[in-house]
């Protein structure tokens, strides 16, 4: 097995024991990235020198038998909307082309404290707005399983990096499915924690009441390991909750015997791809074999979720993105006539079309005379959607459904039709509106050989149970072990 194929749990033991040297590991990764990434385009920026330096440091400490962190020497990739001190953080937007944050995001700080090694920053849809990573201001990331397909989005770079062995794990952010959907499309494990479980400090805001940083890993146990490091209250984020963080690995082996799994009928309606449907049916049969009870439930307000989401998220985005004005940092137009002209040119030149579209929609929904009809009404329906989950979770321990209605789509296929693109997140959006945690894990393959993801949703702050339920399935299946075979000759560049 090549070094970059190990999981974090495996690699971290081998590093501590001295069997693998962190510097060798990082070198192998960089070498591999340099061959593969020109085809996948997962990374926006590689931090080769920093990574090697950090690896050497950790190596030295291990040699000296000094204390090292929980993730000592484990390579990780970071979505480029998460701030890294001293390293460019662009949100895949031209408007932040040269932005170098003077601070680390809380999660980055915690990763560094645990001696993880940041390999680089990954591509995304500009400001995390999209479901295909085609909206990046810099490059289009490809799905390692089939380079003609999108990796999903908006954290497509992180998902593709983990799938193509360009990193062992990665961080993403999930506002309406931006971790779970690309995880499903790339055949990796993606966790969106409860809103308030992980600090948002340093995550460049899109929809502040929906955003949550999430994980990409090769298996469920690694998800537990990574979540362990990033979860927990942070005084710099008032919306992060002072709820204790359990040991996520402790109960992961407990199985699903006696647990009740809810199947929402609204999520298995028309529009669901047959392969996805079949894979889910098989998965549920597996869960029954393992001793869980599968129960039909209803989440009656599901049909409004996408509409509510695009009002709430865009309203918040229109305000969050107001600060990119060319005054203090980031891109500023080269010539302008007065302050208003400077604002207009800077923002017209700096933002891409999808971002502009959402800023306009958001401002419209908040404008005087429309606020009640749009934002306020959406907030009320959002409460109904939350209520649906509250009712459901009185009957069941978790909800299982598809992550994405389709196994994938080709690059360019949906780019011209925003509405169709928005429907990619139909199954993932409700969890963000309700603030509940969700996980996506591989549960099969389509006829074209694209991976299919199963989504498990749980109660607020019950990530531990989600991981346990996910692991019970993973332990009995091999879907997560399958790796994409990249369809290009390693020496040929596109």
């Amino acid at each position: 097995m090549r070094l970059f194929e190990y999981t974090a749990l495996q690699i971290k033991e081998k590093i501590i024991s001295g069997e693998i040297l962190p510097v060798d590991l990082v070198k192998q990764f960089i070498e591999h990235i340099k061959i593969i990434d020109p085809h996948v385009q997962a990374y926006l920026n590689l931090h080769e020198e920093d990574a090697l330096q950090k690896a050497a440091q950790i190596q030295k400490r291990i040699e000296n038998a000094e204390k090292v962190g929980y993730l000592a020497g484990v390579p990780i990739a970071i979505k480029d909307n998460i701030c890294t001190k001293g390293l460019t953080t662009t949100c895949a937007s031209k408007i932040l082309r040269n932005f170098i944050p003077p601070y680390d995001a809380c999660v980055v700080k915690r990763l560094k404290e645990e001696d993880a090694i940041i390999l680089g920053k990954t591509n995304l849809d500009e400001f995390a707005m999209g479901s295909s990573t085609e909206n990046s201001g810099y490059k289009i990331t490809r799905n390692p399983w089939n380079l003609e397909y999108v990796p999903g989005g908006s954290s497509g770079g992180s998902a593709a990096a983990v799938a193509a062995n360009l990193s062992i794990m990665a961080l993403g952010s999930d506002t309406g499915g931006s971790v779970r959907q690309p995880a499903a499309l790339c055949g990796v494990v993606g966790v969106k924690p409860t809103y308030g479980r992980v600090s948002r400090f340093g995550l460049i805001a899109f929809g502040s009441s929906l955003d949550q940083i999430g994980t990409f890993t090769r298996d469920v146990k690694d998800a537990a390991v990574l979540l362990q490091v990033i979860a927990g209250h942070d005084i710099h984020d008032s919306t992060s909750m002072p709820v204790p963080v359990p040991d996520y690995l402790r109960e992961i082996d407990s199985g699903v015997r006696g647990l009740r799994i809810g199947i929402p009928k609204e999520y298995f309606a028309a529009g669901l791809n047959e392969d996805v449907h079949n894979a889910l049916k098989d998965a549920l049969r597996k869960y029954e074999q393992l001793g869980a009870k599968v129960v039909d439930i209803s989440l009656p307000h599901t049909e409004y979720a996408v509409a509510v989401y695009y009002i709430v998220a865009n309203a918040e985005a229109s305000s969050n993105l107001a600060r990119y004005d060319g005054v203090r940092y980031g891109y500023r137009t080269s010539k302008s006539n007065g302050i208003v002209d400077m604002y207009c040119r800077t923002r017209s030149e700096g933002f891409g079309n999808e971002v502009k579209r959402r800023i306009m929609l958001g401002n419209y929904a908040l404008s005087s005379g429309y606020y009640d009809a749009y934002y306020l009404k959406a907030s009320r329906v959002r409460n109904l959607i939350k209520g649906d989950f509250d009712v459901a979770f009185q009957k069941v321990d978790c909800i299982v459904c598809p992550t994405s209605p389709v196994p994938g789509f080709k690059i360019g296929e949906r780019a011209k039709n925003p509405l169709e693109m928005y429907l990619s997140d139909i199954y993932t959006i409700p969890a963000n509106l309700a603030g509940i945690p969700g996980i996506s894990l591989p549960c099969g393959f389509s006829k074209e050989g694209l991976p299919i993801g199963m989504q498990i949703l749980g109660r607020h702050f019950e990530e531990e149970k989600l991981l346990q339920i996910a692991y019970a399935f993973e332990r009995e299946t091999d879907f997560h072990r399958k790796k994409p075979v990249l369809k290009f000759s390693p020496t040929q560049k596109e």
């Binding site: 953080t89 003077p102 948002r200 995550l203 502040s208 710099h236």
Partner: protein, 478 residues
């Protein structure tokens, strides 16, 4: 036509916290530009606000002092507009759930108490400051963000004022309440207290409000009053000409004492308020409310009334005393030691204030303590020194901070009540002024006053004046 002017005021007061509303940066005034900033108050990507609890409590305190209903649940909203001094291009403020609503403040105009209703009191963040270069033809401006994020209290009154006297009293009373509650230093010259007026006219006797005009850029209370006078006349002239008043915002030009249109109602900003998702709603429970309530001192008007009743002081005297909380506190400090309210009132409102003005002292750092003034009054009462000498001692106390007893001993200022000594001086004075004695005997009674004066002069004012009077009389009548 006769019109009635209707005025409402919006007041902004910077709160006197050490750090900013949503980050740990200092709020100190007057530092080098952009030295009190951090990623949070600069609105950099990915940063989040964290509420300064002290600032919130200050706001709460002011809202309670202004008799507002305090909502059990309050939250913050984003107010969006683009301006280079506003780092996020939205201001975290309150709109849908203001901290305090439906309050009131009593003002006193021409000895009559008048109640002005307060629409709401809310907390928000201050913006930065634009600096426009002085060189001619400069095509840029600079921004100083030191002030950005300083906690700002906004107090919105109802349009309950009907003349400039009421407006002046409103501003003065509000300022005093903010000073008494110690939530703001109210330094208008540093911009920590600012007013905006909305003014409308209506026919005398009419109930219907006219279109209101908002006036901004009022840098002092004087400007507020001048602007109201100007605006009243401008609107009255317009109405007399049969024109209508547009609802608009005007800017006050302090130099030319004129207002000019800034924007019309049609151009008014759409602030697109929506709830701030980065902050949790604040729940104010009864316990917290009680804790804040007990920190509110007796407010100026109540204190004035008490001083008049308990200490039998005049309206004028008490007005002077309560003008500054520190003076009223000083007065009460003295009273606790010696029960001579009138004497202390005179010392404070005359001598102390004169010394403060003459020597340009900071009233918050007085060189003497109530204990020392009380000691001085006691010494006078005992007859150790005369009131004339007392003024000298007081002046010395202000200069040196020493106790009156020490000054008296050092300078040998104690009153002389030794009969033999005084008599000896009298004999000397009489023998030196035979002509005066003649005059006296001829019936010139003011000759006595002259002799007393001579004796006081001889003793450098230290002789007990009462004794001198009696003894001189006795001597020349003998």
């Amino acid at each position: 036509m006769e019109y009635e002017v209707v005025v409402g005021l919006e007041t902004h007061a910077e709160l006197a916290t050490v750090s900013k509303l949503f980050c740990g940066c200092s709020t100190k005034f007057g530092s080098e530009p952009n030295t009190q900033v951090c990623p949070v108050c600069l609105g950099m990507p990915g940063v989040l606000p964290v509420m300064n609890k002290k600032a919130f409590e200050y706001a709460l305190k002011a809202a309670i002092a202004l008799n507002c209903k305090i909502r059990e649940y309050t939250n913050f909203d984003r107010k969006s507009y683009y301006y280079p001094d506003l780092p996020k291009n939205y201001q975290i403020s309150q709109n849908y759930h203001n901290l305090g609503v439906d309050g009131s403040m009593d003002i006193c105009v021409h000895d009559r108490v008048n109640r002005i209703r307060i629409h709401n009191v809310h907390l928000e963040e201050e913006a930065g400051k634009l600096i426009h270069p002085e060189e001619a033809g400069a095509d840029y401006s600079l921004v100083d963000f030191n002030r950005a994020g300083v906690p700002l209290l906004e107090i919105v009154s109802y349009p309950d004022m009907r003349n400039v006297d009421e407006v002046e009293s409103y501003m003065q009373t509000l300022r005093k309440i903010l000073l008494y509650t110690e939530v703001s230093d109210c330094k208008m010259q540093e911009g920590s207290l600012r007013f905006e007026a909305s003014i409308s006219l209506r026919k005398k006797g009419s109930e219907k409000l006219g279109n209101r005009v908002e006036i901004k850029n009022l840098n002092s209370m004087k400007s507020v009053l001048k602007a109201i006078e100007y605006e009243t006349k401008r609107q009255a002239d317009s109405l007399d000409r049969g024109e209508t008043i547009d609802r608009e915002t005007r800017l006050w030009d302090e130099v030319n004492e004129k207002s000019a249109r800034m924007r019309s109602k049609e151009e008014a900003q759409d602030y697109r308020y929506f709830p701030e998702p980065d902050l949790l709603p604040v729940v104010i429970d009864a316990k917290w409310l009680d804790e804040v309530k007990v920190t509110i001192p007796e407010l100026p008007l109540a204190r004035k009334q008490r001083f008049m009743e308990v200490f039998k002081l005049s309206d004028y005297d008490t007005s002077l005393l309560i003008e500054e909380k520190i003076l009223a506190d000083f007065f009460e400090g003295c009273i606790k030691i010696v029960d001579r309210p009138k004497a202390f009132c005179n010392w404070i409102t005359n001598d102390l204030l004169r010394e403060v003005n003459d020597r340009k002292l900071d009233i918050h750092h007085l060189p003497i303590r109530p204990k020392q003034l009380a000691a001085l009054v006691e010494i006078i009462e005992k007859g150790t020194i005369s009131s004339t000498i007392a003024k000298e001692v007081f002046s010395e106390m202000i200069q040196t901070g020493k106790d009156p007893q020490a000054i008296i001993e050092e300078k040998k200022l104690a009153q002389i009540s030794d009969e033999g000594f005084i008599e000896a001086v009298i004999v000397k004075v009489i023998s030196g002024n035979p002509a005066v004695i003649e005059d006296y005997k001829k019936g010139k009674k003011n000759a006595l006053t002259f002799l007393v004066g001579q004796v006081m002069k001889e003793t450098k004012g230290k002789a007990n004046p009462k004794m001198v009077n009696e003894l001189v009389q006795k001597k020349i009548d003998a």
